[in-house]
């Protein structure tokens, strides 16, 4: 079954659960629960949890703001209508860039829609919040019934592939240092690909945080690994770039190359080797920028290895 079909199935289960549960828990507006249960469903567990958390948090904030603005508008029709349109404006503005802010303004415009319709009450905002929480819980339950893939699992595979790509950049850098005359026409393309992947990796990482939020140490460790991995890619690209401009040679290049590549290999093997933690000595021409990048790459590899 494809991922889209599974997600659709999960949404159908969430809707069915909400239809059964919501009338038992909330009598006034059960459709809000159904709505939230369906809209926070996503392709992975991490993204569903993230969306649910944003939805609940920003609905609470929106309810408070809606209540305060309702108080300020003091029954003036023109002011209430203006607030409604302003909330629609900002909800549309944030639709693509920020789900939390979009949710906040959606809550505001729902509040003012009821105000304009003459159905507003302070209790209404509380019901909205309760229904949002219930809808979120139902969505999480649906994600367990029709299991959503975990981003953390996918991240591990992506990280391994990403380290290999970084390694390729470093290898090419060493090749250019050894043979400055070497033509390397594809480097712009491969660099662009690596940077795009780094961006995607950071997006996935945000979702992983929600899957491991209850394991604080693991969460911090994963964040460090990701931060160092992304920095590794930038330094690897920097190394590759400066290698092309190197004016003077670096002595014992083959040994340095072997040591650095060995560190990359160790990232994929079990933690049995402590040699990686010892600093690599980068001798030779001290004023060569490649020297700095090479040393920094080694430091980052050691930091990642320490966290694995």
């Amino acid at each position: 079954m494809s991922e889209t079909t599974r997600t659709a199935l999960r949404a159908a289960v969430a809707a069915a659960l909400a239809i059964v549960i919501s009338p038992l828990v909330t009598a006034q507006r059960p459709y809000w629960t159904i709505l939230i249960a369906v809209v926070v469903i996503n392709d992975t567990l991490g993204s569903s949890l993230r969306k649910t958390w944003h939805r609940v948090g920003m609905t609470a904030a929106g309810c408070v703001a809606g209540w305060a603005l309702h108080f300020i508008s003091n029954g003036r029709d023109a002011v209430e209508r203006s607030f409604l349109l302003i909330a629609i404006f900002w909800a549309a503005y944030f639709r693509k860039s920020s789900y939390p802010w979009m949710t906040f303004f959606v809550t505001l415009y729902v509040a003012f829609l009821f105000t304009v319709l003459g159905q507003w009450s302070a209790g209404l905002m509380l019901i909205r919040l309760e229904d949002t929480v219930l809808g979120g819980l139902i969505a999480i339950a649906a994600s367990l019934i029709v299991p959503a893939p975990r981003v953390a699992q996918r991240m591990e595979e992506e990280l391994t592939g990403f380290w290999q790509d970084c390694r390729e950049q470093v290898e090419q850098g060493f090749a250019v240092l050894a043979h400055p005359e070497l033509q390397d026409d594809d480097w712009r393309k491969s660099r662009g690909e690596l940077l795009r992947r780094a961006e995607k990796l950071q997006i996935s990482a945000r979702e992983t945080d929600y899957e491991t939020f209850y394991r604080i140490r693991s969460l911090q460790r994963n964040r460090r690994i990701l931060r160092n991995t992304v920095m590794l890619s930038h330094q690897a690209l920097g190394f590759h770039r400066v290698a092309r401009l190197a004016s003077a040679g670096i002595s014992n290049l083959p040994e340095l190359r072997a040591q650095t590549l060995r560190r990359f290999e160790l990232l994929e093997s079990p933690k049995t080797d402590t040699e990686l933690l010892a600093p690599v000595d980068w001798p030779g021409q001290e004023s060569e920028p490649a020297h700095y990048f090479g040393r920094r790459i080694d430091e980052l590899l050691a930091e990642i290895y320490r966290d694995l």
């Binding site: 494809s2 889209t4 079909t5 997600t7 659709a8 199935l9 999960r10 949404a11 159908a12 969430a14 809707a15 069915a16 239809i19 459709y31 159904i34 709505l35 369906v38 809209v39 469903i41 349109l85 629609i88 404006f89 900002w90 549309a92 503005y93 639709r95 693509k96 860039s97 829609l113 319709l117 712009r188 660099r191 662009g192 940077l195 795009r196 961006e199 920095m231 930038h234 330094q235 690209l237 920097g238 770039r241 400066v242 401009l245 001290e286 004023s287 060569e288 920028p289 020297h291 700095y292 990048f293 040393r295 920094r296």
Partner: protein, 261 residues
């Protein structure tokens, strides 16, 4: 800028729809306003024609959904089955939409609201009329009154990128804020890339490649600044990255002139 314009267009479409149905029926006006707002977000694809088709299909689906919702509102089991099917469908059809956009969800929202609105089957016709009216308002505003100017938005985004890049270099200490804006500009241009690729494919790819490179070098610059002093190699690396960043800025400014042309 493009987001601001889109938000303003959404409000305009909602106001037009609300005003058009204001004297008919308050419920109808509400549906017209909602559907106009929703349909303004319901476009996908890289060209005007595909976007028109996606909005028209969503308009038709919403009208049908509202009809079914209000006609089945009095029948418990049928209504509930419809909602489950609509939830499934809203996610399933994403596979046919470029970028798996989430806008089919709006059809589910309208179905859900139609099943709980008072009036039952009798309200189906006014609601369908309202949703169709909302569609017309959204279509007219989106494609005719204030059409998108992607190239202009792309150029503006490049200007913003260069401005923030220079700001980041001259005013250290705001790393996170600057990087966030720069990342957002690149992400926006990535989204617009295919649309604009038809105008100047090589140039757009070149601009994006330069921006990715600038971002990467800037991150390295910040990293070098954070490291403790460690000698000549570090100074040389700092010098190299600064010079290289200057080179990219000059390149981006040249690209910007070409985009104008």
């Amino acid at each position: 800028m493009m987001q601001l314009k889109h938000a303003a267009k959404t409000v305009l479409a909602v106001v037009i729809a609300l005003e058009a149905f204001r004297f008919l029926h308050s419920q109808a006006a509400l549906y017209a306003g909602m559907s106009a707002g929703f349909l303004m977000q319901s476009t996908a694809g890289n060209d005007r024609r595909t976007r028109q088709i996606s909005m028209a299909l969503m308009g038709a689906a919403s009208t049908l959904a509202v009809r079914l919702g209000s006609e089945l509102s009095g029948q418990h089991l049928a209504k509930e089955l419809l909602l489950v099917a609509a939830a499934f469908g809203a996610y399933y059809v994403r596979r046919f939409i470029p970028g798996k956009a989430m806008f089919p969800m709006f059809a589910f929202v309208l179905t859900l609201l139609a099943t709980v609105q008072p009036g039952g089957a009798g309200a189906a016709l006014p609601m369908m009329t309202a949703v169709s009216g909302g569609f017309l308002a959204a279509f007219a505003v989106y494609f005719y009154l204030l059409p998108d100017e992607s190239l202009r938005a792309f150029r503006h985004s490049v200007d913003l990128f260069v401005f923030r890049l220079q700001h980041a270099r001259r005013n250290p200490g705001h790393e996170q804020g600057d990087l966030r804006v720069l990342h957002r500009a690149v992400a926006f241009e990535e989204e617009e890339r295919e649309t604009l690729g038809k105008v100047a494919p090589a140039l757009c790819s070149q601009v994006l490649a330069d921006q990715y490179e600038a971002l990467q070098i800037l991150i390295v610059v910040f990293d070098i600044e954070r490291q403790p002093e460690s000698g000549a190699a570090q100074q040389m690396a700092a010098q190299f990255t600064h010079d290289y960043l200057n080179e990219i800025i000059i390149r981006l400014e040249q690209d910007r002139v070409l985009l104008d042309a």
